[in-house]
Assembly symmetry: C2
Homo-oligomer: 129 residues x 2
């Protein structure tokens, strides 16, 4: 369906793709909005703060794959890129992503677990970046 996902040669290329991060931003905001809507039992449209995503990236041990001199927003972009990449590649469904996120009240913990699940699943697939 999305031919562009075939071009990435390694995980670092996924994490550093700003265009993929832009699509990922849209995906991450939507799934997090679903999580909050379920939790509060009313519809909510949310935007995930870059601080949350950059912290989650660090906690998941993925920060070290990126150049040292990048700012918080670029770190958050990396998390967004990886999360949407996994969804596009059918490594994780939207429902699974929402299920993982809603198990953690703390959003950093929630996104860290999603990133860890994603990287673990990536290692088990042929894609193995």
């Amino acid at each position: 369906m999305f031919t562009f996902v075939l071009k990435y040669k390694n995980l670092r290329e996924v994490l550093m793709d700003q265009k993929l991060a832009s699509l990922g931003d849209s995906f991450v905001n939507f799934i997090y909005s679903l999580v909050l809507s379920k939790r509060k039992e009313e519809p909510i449209g949310a935007k995930v703060d870059s601080r949350i995503l950059s912290e989650a990236l660090k906690k998941a041990g993925l920060r070290k794959l990126l150049p040292s001199r990048i700012d918080r927003h670029t770190q958050a972009d990396a998390a967004e890129a990886l999360i949407v990449y996994a969804w596009i590649q059918n490594i994780i469904t939207m429902k699974e992503s929402v299920n993982i996120l809603e198990q953690h009240e703390d959003p950093v913990e929630a996104f860290c677990t999603l990133l860890l699940t994603t990287t673990k699943k990536l290692n088990l697939t042929d894609i193995n970046l």
Copy 2:
């Protein structure tokens, strides 16, 4: 999954729910980003302009269900609310929504067709607002 969808008694209540529109905004931006990403063969994160959605609402004949003195943004909100309502209620899948949108180069035409498909399907279900 989302208990709050049960509270709407008619289509007008769906169209006028600002909170539902907020979740819908997130959904609409995501599906439209997917459409553009497929079309351009590269990842794109897009935000659908309220002018497009308000025009689509008018063209689909749904504007008349709303009070006459509402602005363009509230009209766009109504479109977003209905589109995400249909997805939450399993009246239309995300894949179907993307398929409908990508058949039309013109975004107003694309969203008008999505709204028309949605209202037609609503009329065929038990939900029948």
